[in-house]
Symmetry: C2
Subunit: 303 residues, 2 copies
């Protein structure tokens, strides 16, 4: 049985930050998500790559135990993204997007993968997210991401999708745009009324805030001296978050909180190097150590 299924992109990224530049490195939301999740659980990917996609990257993903049954290889080139960050590192400037084989991507969930326990719909066209949801038996947990491009351009399709989503994971600008309000408490109420019982808002260097049924949880980001490349941090967060939930099977509020911290741990490691380079060197002890560091950074005694 598939424990955690993700649909998203597998891409070749070219990224320039004040700390360096890398070309055609492993990227894409599904790559980041699955790699982060692989530290906690079994994860299966639905995505597409072109003929040019390096065997090396597939070997890495497989070596992480990631199931690639649902990764199509199609004629043409792999999805490519080129972006730049300034010293603020808070927002990528997209220099070029070549969808290539991604342009005609119609995700197909293999017969063997149609009963996933949990499903993550990474940031792709909400109509494609919907087709994946329609191909599977209703998972125990469905989470999704989106972006301003879909919030502005495919709002009705996105709102229709959200009715069937349990957890929406987006950044603060997106959350405000989706709800049409600057106040996050109001934003949370509006989005929760649209479907998701839980809203997780990613705030970059400021961390994450989660609005669940009637509680709020917030955790700051880990202050790092070396932030080399923020690309994929949000997807690594989601991967750590859902990977942890999948590993415990517990969906109570305390488990969701630990999952938010696990996601924050994975995001904090992801940004320390380009692409997935830091995660390549990571073992579970590192994750435990940083989880403890998050605890040490946020704990205080009663007054």
């Amino acid at each position: 049985m598939v424990k955690l299924l993700v649909v998203g992109s597998v891409a070749l990224d070219s990224v320039k930050t004040p700390f360096g530049q890398e070309d055609d490195v492993l990227g894409g939301s599904a790559s980041f998500f699955a790699t982060a999740a692989s530290y906690f659980t079994e994860v299966s990917v639905i995505a597409v790559v072109g003929e040019d996609f390096p065997e090396l990257h597939l070997a890495f993903l497989r070596q992480r135990g990631i199931d690639l049954t649902g990764l199509e290889r199609r004629p043409g080139k792999t999805f490519r993204w080129r972006g730049e960050y300034s010293y603020q590192l808070n927002e990528a400037k997209t220099i070029a997007t070549h969808l290539n084989v991604f342009e005609t991507f119609r995700p197909v969930v293999p017969e063997s993968h149609r009963e996933p326990e949990m499903l993550f719909l990474a940031n792709i066209d909400p109509e494609l997210q919907r087709t994946v949801l329609e191909q599977v038996r209703r998972p125990r947990l469905v989470a999704c991401d989106t972006m301003n491009f879909w919030i502005d351009g495919k709002r009705p399709e996105l709102l229709r999708l959200l009715k069937d989503v349990d957890i929406l994971i987006i950044n603060d600008g997106e959350a405000r745009a989706l709800a049409g309000d600057p106040n996050l408490v109001t934003v949370a109420r509006t989005i929760q009324a649209a479907g998701p019982t839980t809203l997780i808002i990613k705030r970059g260097e400021y961390g994450v805030i989660m609005f669940s049924k009637d509680r709020v949880f917030a955790v700051p980001a880990f202050p790092l001296e070396q932030v080399k490349d923020p690309t994929g941090a949000g997807d690594c967060f989601a991967g750590g978050f859902m990977g942890y939930l999948s590993s415990t099977g517990n969906l109570g509020d305390e488990a969701l909180r630990r999952a938010v911290v696990a996601g924050s741990v994975m995001a904090s490691y992801a940004v320390e190097s380009f692409s997935l380079d830091r995660l390549r060197l990571l073992d579970y002890k590192d994750i435990e150590a940083r989880f403890k560091a998050f605890k040490g950074m946020t704990f205080f005694e009663d007054i």
Copy 2:
């Protein structure tokens, strides 16, 4: 003996936000600081007002138990500030500043107040901050605030002052400008090398991060549905922070953490109304309740 002494401004503010407008209401860093601190400890103010300063405001401060021995009343008008906030509420746009009697303010610490246990130098000219420090016997704890205007315009004077300061409390833009680096970990190291052993960075709606000797503590801001007026939030934070420290006398890291939360509680109440209006209605039970809410919002179990 004076427990907590503050030097700063007592002003009449006119503030417009998307939620209303108020003219000539009680403002100024020392007013906000002292009112917030008064819930925890005895606090004495060094400041100046003009002949036009309403007796009503003095009565309010006195009723809060605040010692006004060091509040001069001088010929002329009280310091006036007029500002506006947009829906983002993150930064005030100053419409007008009339220094009035504040222009020639030379703080004089009364003989009876020259051995304060703790001292807060609110955001005024670093040369004036220094004259206050020179008039008192070295307090057990000296904290100060500043702003970009002094960081840019009186950098040598500010750096000289910082050598004698234990805790610097500023916002993130100011911290980055002072240290000349975008990375907060580097910023902290640079500022700590200049004097303060502890750096507290206020991040508005994202909360506060504290760098102490070899530890980091961060707490998110309390998500509020109603933020009416952010004016004075930073000074209320500092007042709650130092008021709490003064009440316990403990300066260990755990106490500093609780103090950061106490300050965050006071700031969260301050922004719920214009001027000090929410604090007028507050009692210590409200503070305890919100402190608990901060705990509830940030706590997570070990992985």
